[in-house]
């Protein structure tokens, strides 16, 4: 890990800013107010995150995005099964009848909620540095948290990539959901991006 303190602080700031600004849009989806709390954002080694995740054996849903643009990165959001179901129920409530026929509504909806969270974070980076960061369509999968993360680490290279973990609570009138966000980003690309405006 060779990101400087300032670089880590910058990325953390954009992450928190982006997720924080999602609350208004989540509120529009579910027609209720939402709040967001960050309980921690830090750069960690993959081994440490895997060890931490392996302590939780509950089924989780992982939504993964990649970007192959000027800033190669992977963005993963993990929800417990319970949290995911609660979020989907809240978000689909206004149009429940119309959405009855949607195949696999849970995966579709949690993919879209995650899309809004991830896109909001990247929009902060895009606007700060006049760059376009395009995400792939979300890949949604279910399994044990550590196993889901392990699958996503195939391309991770600890010599070149930085891994950030953020724990975020999303809450509204009817739910309290805890999510983990993992961002893996190429250090050199990120550094070049930050330098482009310094």
């Amino acid at each position: 890990m060779s990101l400087t303190e300032d670089e880590r602080a910058l990325l953390t700031r954009y992450l928190q800013q982006g997720v924080g600004s999602s609350t208004e849009r989540l509120a529009a989806m579910s027609q209720t107010e939402w709040g967001v709390n960050f309980s921690g954002t830090q750069e960690m080694s993959a081994v440490r995150v895997l060890a931490w995740f392996s302590q939780n054996r509950q089924e989780h849903i992982c939504v993964k995005f990649s970007s192959t643009s000027d800033v190669p990165l992977e963005f993963m959001i993990f929800f417990s099964d319970t949290s995911a179901s609660a979020i989907v129920d809240a978000v689909t409530a206004p149009h429940k009848e119309q959405l009855k026929e949607v195949a696999d509504l849970l995966f579709s909806t949690i993919g879209e909620v995650s899309n809004i969270l991830a896109q909001n974070v990247l929009a902060c980076l895009s606007d700060a540095y006049d760059t376009t960061i395009i995400l792939t369509v979300p890949e949604v999968s279910r399994g044990a948290k550590a196993a889901l993360l392990g699958e996503s680490l195939e391309l991770y290279d600890g010599r070149k990539d930085a891994l950030f973990l953020a724990n975020v609570q999303l809450h509204s009138e009817k739910i309290a959901a805890e999510t983990s966000m993992v961002i893996i980003v190429n250090e050199t690309s990120l550094r070049n991006l930050f330098k482009s405006k310094s």
Partner: protein
């Protein structure tokens, strides 16, 4: 208007279908990929297409200019989860006629489509 819906997400396509029908538009096709969108536009000749910028086979940045070049009179409403101003400028440069953010509701959809209809009336008068 005759509308094609383009989004890889079932939930979004279903929601758009319902809301557009509520607003009395005719859905003439739905596509989950960029290639399907291009083919459908050629065969169904819609007035309006709603376009997601993240598709499994190509990004909206690839689809958008092709749609605009092949169908210059087609109204293209981009629907995106990304609220970046930088991205918005690029999207309009590539040929989008209007843009709304996800999540959308009936009101925001109606306002966006009404602005497209008004544009058409202004151009023809």
């Amino acid at each position: 208007m005759r509308v094609i819906i383009v989004d890889d997400n079932d939930y979004i396509r279903s929601l758009l279908e319902y809301l557009l029908q509520q607003a009395h538009h005719e859905i003439v096709g739905q596509a989950a990929t960029g290639q399907q969108a291009l083919e459908l536009c050629a065969s169904a000749q819609p007035d309006l297409i709603t376009l997601d910028m993240s598709l499994p086979d190509m990004t909206g940045f690839e689809v958008l200019p092709k749609l605009h070049a092949n169908h210059p009179h087609l109204k293209i409403l981009v629907i995106t989860g990304n609220n970046s101003e930088h991205l918005r400028d690029e999207i309009f440069e590539l040929g989008a006629t209007a843009l709304i953010l996800k999540p959308f509701d009936l009101k925001s959809l109606r306002e966006a489509i009404n602005s497209l209809s008004q544009e058409g009336e202004d151009a023809s008068s």
